[in-house]
């Protein structure tokens, strides 16, 4: 099933002004991240169940899933904060459990919670960060100057970080994480608390950085559109890896269109669809989503056959959310308990 990276289908949608580039391959370098049979158990609960994948050097990779899917757990293991119960994880060829210090030199991490000290100036934040990585003196100053210039923070270098806007503070976070020239950058929900323009700018910066430095970037997110921006996406649900491929390839199996139906009585409509049309779907957030490839002509037929049971009908392009729905049987937006999701299977029709 897995396809080689070089033959991957549609490249991720790049923001305007940035040409989409293939991930630069580095000869003789180990993959950015390798994860093999990674498992984390809390007593009986499995937070991460034997997850395996590989991220190439220079790749932009998404861990996509709802809260509790295990993506943050995975990121915490990769960043050496949590020890796995079983399996192993390698960052730039270094085992994070066996050699945490060596792995930390190779890692830059931007957490969801800001790590910038609001009482220190932008430059001071970077200086103290440098000390943590053994940088000092002129080399550190030069590196700080370069990063401040790169992130257009030069004029704010003496300002307290606490006085910066959310978007600027996130840029300082990014500068902090890149100060020691890591090989792999881990980002946990990078858009949290950012408005739309700041989000766009943040992603554009990421794309540029990756192109400039062949940096491996792993983004943990619950936002579909952020997954769409990545070269490959790992869909996680309840600690399991449910799918892994390029966004294009993941959506390919769904056809060109996805059908959503609004109904006065969604469960009844679901039953009718299964009974009369042989269609399967789920009720999610009060609407019926029909599974699988849908022929647009079917829409018209449905309105004719079930006039009283359908109040509105929508045909759209599939998203990664639809992929998630099809692979897991429940929606991304709903919490992972899946309480709001009722699934229809042929044998169950009333």
């Amino acid at each position: 099933m897995s396809m080689p990276r070089s033959a991957s289908a549609a490249p991720p949608v790049a923001p305007a002004g940035v040409a989409p580039r293939p991930a630069p391959l580095r000869e003789g370098r180990p993959p950015g991240v390798q994860v093999e049979g990674l498992t984390l158990r809390y007593g009986d609960r499995i937070a991460l169940g034997a997850v395996s994948f590989e991220v190439g050097a220079g790749e932009l990779f998404a861990l996509l899933g709802p809260n509790g899917s295990g993506k943050s757990t995975l990121l915490r293991i990769l960043s050496t904060l949590l020890r796995p119960s079983a399996g192993r994880a390698l960052v730039d060829g270094v085992d994070v459990t066996a050699h945490p210090a060596a792995a930390r030199h190779r890692l830059g991490v931007v957490f969801q919670a800001p790590s910038v000290d609001g009482r220190l100036s932008v430059a001071e934040n970077l200086r103290f960060q440098g000390y943590l990585y053994g940088l000092s003196g002129r080399a550190l100053t030069a590196r700080i100057d370069a990063l401040l210039e790169r992130f257009a923070l030069g004029e704010r270098r003496r300002d307290r970080a606490g006085t910066l806007s959310g978007g600027l503070r996130r840029r300082v976070e990014l500068a902090k994480a890149l100060l020691h020239r890591p090989r792999v950058l881990l980002l946990d929900e990078p858009s949290t608390g950012l408005d739309l323009p700041s989000r766009q700018a943040f992603w554009q910066t990421l794309d540029e950085l990756r192109a400039e430095n062949a940096l491996t970037v792993i983004v943990a997110t619950h936002l579909m559109d952020e997954g769409e921006r990545c070269g490959r996406v790992a869909l996680l649900d309840r600690g399991q890896l449910v799918a892994l491929d390029t966004p294009g390839a993941l959506k390919q199996g769904l056809g060109d269109t996805v059908l959503t139906l609004e109904a006065p009585d969604p469960p009844r409509l679901l039953a009718l669809l299964a009974e009369r049309m042989g269609l399967q779907g789920v009720v999610q957030d009060g609407v019926v989503r029909v599974r699988g490839p849908v022929d647009p002509a079917l829409a018209a037929r449905l309105l004719q056959e079930l006039p009283a049971d359908i109040s509105a009908l929508r045909l759209g392009r599939p998203t990664l959310g639809d992929v998630f729905l099809v692979r897991t049987g429940h929606a991304m937006a709903a919490d992972s308990s899946g309480d709001r999701t009722a699934e229809s299977t042929p044998g169950e029709t009333p």
Binding site: S2, G28, F53, G93, S115, R119, L132, Y133
Partner: protein
């Protein structure tokens, strides 16, 4: 359906071209950075300066003057003002308050996310302990020193060796309280729960150190608690350095050198304890 499982198994997990591992962890530079950050944060929060210096000063003036000569702890030298008796304890209180604020900053670092950034850096936990504890101890010492300079106002005029001895005692007490605070604060994720520690442990430690009343007139079990209280020895060392010989004898102050030794041993124990809690793996 699990494509990811197939992927990655084909290649050797340890890349042949793996770069040489950089020189492990560093101790001195990160410790210095975390230490300097403590001092910088302190001067940027005037409220902390005011709270840890002003409150004890107010205590001293109000309680000291309020009790005046009506409250005479047994053993108080005849004619010695309560303001004089209470002064060394007030210096300890300044140190204690500063240590409490420093410990709260450990919790804030955790809740505000700063700590996470340190934990993923190639920094040994010992550097975090040393940076924070030495930072807190320096601040406590500095604040205590400012208070100490007011000693003549309380009728205490130590000799130069006495003053230097008092500085030594002050630093040891600061170090031990700062490490003790770190020990409790490291695992906590709310400042509220630290208040319980403060009210149940740190304040009673101070109240039962002999700062407020002397052990001579207390019931036997209070005396036993006071004897076991490390802060009592800090106060003994401080009184030994500050009070003239006649007052020391009248107050029944023990050997300050022995007391200083006890505080030094307690500091080492607390530092080891702090290093031990910090070295344990983080919870999920």
């Amino acid at each position: 359906m699990n494509e990811g499982t197939e992927r990655g198994l084909g290649r050797p997990l340890a890349g042949e071209g793996a770069p040489p591992v950089p020189s492990g962890t560093l101790l001195l530079l990160p410790t210095w950075g975390l230490f300097a950050r403590e001092l910088l944060r302190f001067v940027r929060q005037p409220g902390r300066v005011l709270g840890s210096l002003g409150t004890p000063l107010l205590f001293w003036l109000l309680l000291g003057s309020g009790f005046g000569k009506t409250f005479q702890p047994p053993g108080l030298a005849h004619g010695m003002d309560y303001l004089t008796y209470f002064f060394p304890g007030t210096v300890l209180l300044v140190v204690l308050f500063t240590a409490i604020f420093a410990s709260i900053s450990v919790i804030q670092d955790r809740t505000e996310g700063f700590l996470q950034g340190v934990l993923v850096a190639p920094v040994p936990r010992l550097a975090i302990v040393l940076g924070k504890v030495l930072g807190g101890a320096t601040l406590g010492f500095g604040q205590g020193l400012i208070m100490l300079l007011l000693a003549p106002l309380a009728g205490l005029t130590p000799t130069l060796p006495g003053f230097l001895g008092a500085c030594g005692a002050l630093f040891l007490v600061s170090l031990s309280l700062s490490a003790l605070g770190f020990l409790f604060a490291w695992r906590m994720d709310s400042v509220q729960s630290f208040h319980a520690v403060m009210n149940l442990l740190l304040m009673p430690m101070w109240l039962l150190s002999g700062a407020f009343f002397s052990a001579a007139g207390a019931s036997w079990w209070i005396r036993a608690v006071m004897d076991a209280n490390p802060l009592s020895y800090g106060l003994t060392a401080l009184r030994g350095a500050l009070h003239p010989a006649a007052e020391r004898a009248a107050l029944g102050v023990g050997d300050p050198w022995v007391a200083a030794g006890v505080v030094a041993a307690f500091s080492v124990a607390m530092l080891l304890g702090a290093a031990w809690v910090a070295a344990r793996p983080e919870r999920g």
